[in-house]
Symmetry: C2
Subunit: 125 residues, 2 copies
C-alpha cells in the first residue's frame, strides 16, 4: 500500500474521515471475505444447497448428489467444517454432514433471490 496523492483530498475530507472511522476494520473484512470466498465455489455451493435441501447426508451420498468424486467432496467439506459452516456426525463408518450456521442458510436464500431478480441486470457494463 502506498496511497500517495489523493489521500484525503478528493471531494470531502471530513466525509472521508467519517466514513473511514465507521468502516469495518481490516481484520473483520478479512474474516468476512474468507466466509464469502468459501461460498464462492460452484462445487461447495452445490454441496451446501444439497445439505439445505436434505438436512443431513453422508459423504458418499453427497458425492452422488452433486456428481463429484468423493475425495473432492471430502476436501470441500473439510474447509466448510473448519469454518464452522457445516458440522459432522459419525454413524458407523459413515460421516453425516449438515449445515451448522443459521446465517449461512440465510445467505444462501438471499443469494438465490438475488440470482432470480438480477438476471436482467447483468448486461450493464
Amino acid at each position: 500500500m502506498d496511497l500517495e496523492g489523493c489521500e484525503v483530498s478528493g471531494v470531502d475530507p471530513d466525509r472521508v474521515g467519517a466514513v473511514r472511522s465507521a468502516l469495518l476494520p481490516v481484520e473483520e473484512a478479512g474474516r468476512l471475505a474468507a466466509l464469502f470466498r468459501l461460498l464462492g465455489d460452484p462445487a461447495r455451493m452445490r454441496l451446501l444447497y444439497a445439505l439445505l435441501e436434505a438436512g443431513e447426508l453422508c459423504v458418499c451420498d453427497l458425492a452422488a448428489v452433486v456428481e463429484a468424486p468423493e475425495t473432492n467432496v471430502s476436501h470441500a467439506l473439510r474447509l466448510l467444517r473448519t469454518a464452522g459452516i457445516v458440522k459432522a456426525r459419525r454413524a458407523g463408518r459413515r460421516m453425516h454432514y449438515a449445515l451448522d450456521d443459521a446465517h449461512v442458510r440465510l445467505l444462501l436464500d438471499v443469494s438465490r433471490e438475488h440470482l432470480r431478480h438480477a438476471a436482467d441486470a447483468t448486461g450493464r457494463a
Copy 2:
C-alpha cells in the same frame, strides 16, 4: 469428473435421486458462486461497506477511505460494476459509485451478523 463406485449406492438411492433433482443446476451454482467470490476479497469488502455507509463516493475518496491505491480501487470497482453490484455515475471528471443491489446490502448485513455470533464457533475442527 469420474464418479465411479458410490454413485447412487450410499445409504438411500431414492433420497439421493430426490435431492439431486431438487438441487440448483450447475449453471446457477456457478453464477451464485461468482457473486460470492466477488464478495470474497477484503479490499472489495471494505469498498462495499464504505459505500453502504456513505451512499455514494468517488474513486478518489474511496481510495482514501479504504487506504488503497486508486488503481486497485478502480480495478475492484470494475469487477463489482460488471456484476451489477455497484453502479457508476459521472460528475464532471469524477466517477461516483454506489451500491446497486438490495440483496447485496442484505448479504453484507447478514454476514456481519454471522461474524458477530460465530466468533466462538471457529475452534471447532
